[in-house]
Symmetry: C3
Subunit: 315 residues, 3 copies
Amino acid sequence: MTLQEIAKSINIKCDSTKKISGLSTLVDSTQTEITFLENKKYLSDLKNTKAAAVLINEKFANEVPSGTIALICDEAYLNLAKLSKIFAAEVIETEGEEPIIGSLTKLMPNVYIGKNSIIGSNCTIMAGAYIGDNVKIGNNTIIYPNVVVYRDCNIGNDCIIHAGTVIGSDGFGFANTKDGKYIKIYQNGNVEIDNDVEIGANCTIDRAVFKSTQIASGVRIDNLVHIGHNCKLGIGCILTGQVGLSGSTVLNQYVIMGGQSATAGHLEIAPFTTIAARGGVTKDITEAKKSWAGFPLIEHRRWLKLQSKIAKLLK
Amino acid sequence: MTLQEIAKSINIKCDSTKKISGLSTLVDSTQTEITFLENKKYLSDLKNTKAAAVLINEKFANEVPSGTIALICDEAYLNLAKLSKIFAAEVIETEGEEPIIGSLTKLMPNVYIGKNSIIGSNCTIMAGAYIGDNVKIGNNTIIYPNVVVYRDCNIGNDCIIHAGTVIGSDGFGFANTKDGKYIKIYQNGNVEIDNDVEIGANCTIDRAVFKSTQIASGVRIDNLVHIGHNCKLGIGCILTGQVGLSGSTVLNQYVIMGGQSATAGHLEIAPFTTIAARGGVTKDITEAKKSWAGFPLIEHRRWLKLQSKIAKLLK
Amino acid sequence: MTLQEIAKSINIKCDSTKKISGLSTLVDSTQTEITFLENKKYLSDLKNTKAAAVLINEKFANEVPSGTIALICDEAYLNLAKLSKIFAAEVIETEGEEPIIGSLTKLMPNVYIGKNSIIGSNCTIMAGAYIGDNVKIGNNTIIYPNVVVYRDCNIGNDCIIHAGTVIGSDGFGFANTKDGKYIKIYQNGNVEIDNDVEIGANCTIDRAVFKSTQIASGVRIDNLVHIGHNCKLGIGCILTGQVGLSGSTVLNQYVIMGGQSATAGHLEIAPFTTIAARGGVTKDITEAKKSWAGFPLIEHRRWLKLQSKIAKLLK
């Protein structure tokens, strides 16, 4: 579609016949993508964007760099949501190549594998598993029964995904209209899982809104863990039972999170950090190799001291 | 069955040959239903009940209104549990009409759809989904792989239910016997989901014990959320990851609940309330448009202040 | 395999041609099993072990009892992990007897039942359920759609397992190498569920690393509950929504755990204990019939008092 056609769909005038391939952030957009600016704290990213066009409020129009077309509108994020549907993939592909299954790979009964998907060799795909369209799975990987891998996701070699886990479900994203409706932001990214990752049962790992939710090699995830869209887990991270990561959380390498601990969104945790059970992380952790606990989060040794002070209130 | 036969099954004498259709609460019972009074705080509801009969302790017998027959027993709730089995539907219907599938609706392989169920037009029911008996689904709704919808539940138009989510599982209900057994209270209600609702992956939404667990239009639910039996969610409510609602929680319109927040049962939250992540609600919230946090729950701004006071204990 | 062959696989010299059947703990090992000592707090168990051999650091070598062969190594736990793969069962059995299905048992479409499995009479196994190899299920048990029961697990009579629940997934266990790799400890135990147990939707109950994760009769489990490997739940325990039990938690009879409460691993809770919602148990509870709350956990009545003291900090 051309930029003109796309803009017209949200009642914005634009003459450009440039072909547009999709949507992305200010930082990641290529010259065929549309981006948006909603929050002025991202104005510095605007200056360096390579996007073909940007949905933006009139008051920021003169900040738009020369190579990018300003699509002036009152509600940039809402318009992004509306456009996201245009670029959403089909829920199921009806055309495409039959999947390719590597040698020695066992497919049990009642497995579904979508169009254009490629499964490596020596894998076991157990009964009831659903592997969507355009999925790639490496070698020696075990997919336990009733696992669901949504379209476009990739899983590496030597991985184990336990029963009932869902990989690539839509991230939780929508824009509000003035009359109280929520407009879905179609999640057009995917999930990329590297080699040697084990994920427990009944976990949920959401696909990215743009680009990829990433799980690096060596990661170990226990049961009933929730990973929001666009999270990035570095190598060797360990997430124990019922951990919840909000969207766009970045865990650097070897971060360990105790049971039921959680993060707020859009934050980064330094390498070799340990979060105790129930810890609630609401800010970046910039110093590596420390242990934290509590909600609000403080250093673990201080949390222990604080609890003994609190206990004294009873005396 | 007649009231006489039913009463006899729990060793209560009763001569009435009135036909009984089911069980319900004091408030909701119709003239063909049996109800119960266990807790004297519901005595005011007893006065206005329309029930055919009430399971009740002898000491409250003279409070029973004239149109209602008193079924005198020591353990009203336990007897309700015993009777609930009589009215429980079959787990699977063996008779009934073949399901009706609307035009343009896609059914993927390995989908099961039960007797008497009706799926609207332009839906997508993905592989491994289970749609029980007597289920109604509207138009344009997407049911992702391995979703389970128990019998008798209804889902509206334009809904999206992500993979692995369970709708209509039994609420958590049982009565205790004196010798330490738990007698199941069969959950004979259902779940009613209105139009334009999106529910994340691996959620669980329990059916009502009587009547319906209700999700109004516009509701957005993230992953791994638990909704107990008989909850009612008003339009536009937002529940983020790993939220838990105990049975009979009422959320009025546009309540927002942060990650891992939860409610105790049988309480009501005013419209436009925001509960911060991890907030634990144990009482009704009657004033609209306020923000709350913590456990015990207090106003969010006071919680922030309290945390800074607590932090000072370390100095 | 002989002890010599097994030891050789991890570069330990040993002349014994004793046949070895598996791995186990110091306490539980039989005369054909290999055990390990990593932590010196278990030295007293070493003295009484009946194991054929023990993986052990040189410094404890002279503590090994005379009937047991010391397999001297630097990293006992890591070597245990390496050996666990040798004794791991196949993910899917390709040989064995066809399953035996009792009379009046209903199998819905798309059910998979593995080799050598035995299902009792009058059961209902609903669509999409996966019952692995060597599983035994008693009479009158209902397995709802898309439940997964991993190989070797047992479920008793009169049980109800709700949709999407996973029984027998691998416990969360691995050993660290010096260069930051995690070596999986294959979970060669199983799950044993006794009679009259009801388990909610989308729960996860991990198999034991050795021996069995045990759920005694009468237990009631709500939705989205996580039970780690080697837990033991006594009769009549009640676990409400989103509870999490870390590995090797022992709940004695009639322990009640409120919503989102949790336990750290390797601890025991006395009979008739009540843990309030969100309670976090980190130590043994030795006195029966008490109520606890909070994290850190204190007696419930003291927790209530403490909260009122904390609230006063705001004044």
